[in-house]
């Protein structure tokens, strides 16, 4: 990656400043530039830092005394009620909106996507301090994560949702269907060296696509398939003994049909990036 400031960086800086300050609209090419430009990454970090302290330049105004009691009454009331389930994905935008070149990318949704890239790159910097064989393993994981993000932003991506109980996630694949990505949250925790295992199903026949571990119920995995994903009807994820199983033994904790691929809209891409950012903690 070049560290040189180019004319395009000068054009990008006002956009970065505006996003850091909370502006709504964004150019869809910004992420591409940011992913490849350390100078602009530094600028964005700095502008976010500045934006965070701007809020302190405010005259103190005392809220009414009764506000405190209303808030505490609301806490009491909500403690009596069960927790709401996690929100599901918003409906896809109509195609015309999804194809607009200038797209309304809500901040901090854009900040999430940028945060995913910066988190990856910030972690990359700390990675240089790693020594020994672990370095190559972590580097392979980092490469995989970069591949997943690049594939998610590919216009030819085929994308599906998976769910089960309180767990939810997404899978996506490239045009050939042989590179498969999965990210999930809310999965049951693993114990005693167990692993999550991915199964691709055709009828009643299941084929293992790979195993992965997670942290706090979040996880991700990049898989290379022997056969295209189009050859399968559905996908399961189960918890299996250490090292995985030749065939699925645990109940599915995630399931998804593979009959209808989608092209994720901006909101769905950003939600998936959010899950990746959560799951990336397992790399640290």
């Amino acid at each position: 990656m070049s560290d040189d400031i180019t004319d395009s960086c000068t054009d990008i800086q006002p956009q970065l400043a505006a996003y850091a300050l909370g502006e709504a609209d964004a150019d869809a090419n910004l992420l591409d530039h940011l992913a490849a430009c350390p100078s602009c990454q530094r600028d964005l970090r700095a502008y976010l830092q500045v934006a965070r302290v701007l809020a302190y330049d405010v005259s103190d105004v005392a809220p009414p005394p009764e506000l405190r009691e209303r808030i505490l009454a609301a806490v009491d009331q909500q403690e009596q009620q069960p927790a709401a389930p996690p929100p599901r994905l918003q409906p896809a935008l109509p195609p015309a909106q999804a194809r607009r070149r200038r797209i309304a990318v809500p901040w901090p949704a854009m900040a999430f996507a940028i945060a995913a890239i910066l988190a990856l790159l910030g972690w990359n910097i700390s990675l240089r301090a790693q020594l020994g064989e672990q370095n190559s393993q972590i580097a392979a994981s980092r490469e995989g994560w970069q591949t997943m993000i690049a594939l998610l932003n590919d216009s030819a991506v085929r994308w599906y949702s998976v769910a089960g109980g309180s767990a939810q996630g997404h899978i996506w694949t490239n045009a050939s269907g042989r590179t498969l990505c999965l990210v999930a949250q809310g999965m049951p925790a693993l114990t005693g060296g167990q692993v999550y295992q991915v199964w691709l199903l055709h009828g009643n026949n299941g084929t293992s696509a790979g195993v992965f571990e997670g942290r706090n119920g979040n996880g991700w995995v990049l898989m290379q398939l022997d056969e295209p994903l189009a050859n399968y009807d559905s996908i399961n994820v189960s918890i299996e003994p250490p090292g995985g199983s030749p065939s699925q033994t645990g109940p599915p904790i995630l399931h998804g049909a593979l009959s209808e691929a989608q092209t994720p809209n901006t909101t769905e891409r950003q939600h998936t990036l959010q899950l990746l950012t959560l799951a990336a903690d397992q790399l640290r």
């Binding site: 530094r42 105004v61 901090p108």
Partner: protein
Amino acid sequence: MDEVTVALSEQVSDAALISMLREQPAAGVAALYDRYGRLIFSVALRIVQDHGAAEEITQDVFLRCWRNIERYQANQGSLPSWLLAITHHRSIDELRSRRGKELRREISDDTIQQLTTFDPGFDEALVRGEVHEALHILPPAQRDVIELIFWGGLTRREVADQLRLPIGTVHTRLRLGMEKLRAALGRSTGAE
């Protein structure tokens, strides 16, 4: 605010507040509000310019903070910065909604977790003074553009329309102003 709560809120750290939120929600929210309620309300009021709306936003911020405290990650930013980010986002959306503008996005609980700040933590009192000074030595033309976006919820295009300037001029003033703030606040905020 009773004497016990005053003493409590002055003594406990933010980390202890977070623990209290998890284990004793009512006491935790009370202590959190006593520490940051005035700041949150002031920021909301500055943006929406309406006491009733500012009160609603303040209530929403503290309830969301409590509900999402498990998602808060201390290594990604200080607690007040997280609260301020939620407040700013919520307030700007309220402002734009009143103007009939499209909402950026409903602020879901999943959204809340990702309002990271990248700040290493800083002395709040020190920063308050430095921010005020840094903003007020900016050329007014640059300060106006920054404040119209940050406090006014305007896009760059809307700023250009309001000030009757070419969009390029808005970009230049925004870029120069933010670079000056970055330099002025660098030491206290950790901005490079």
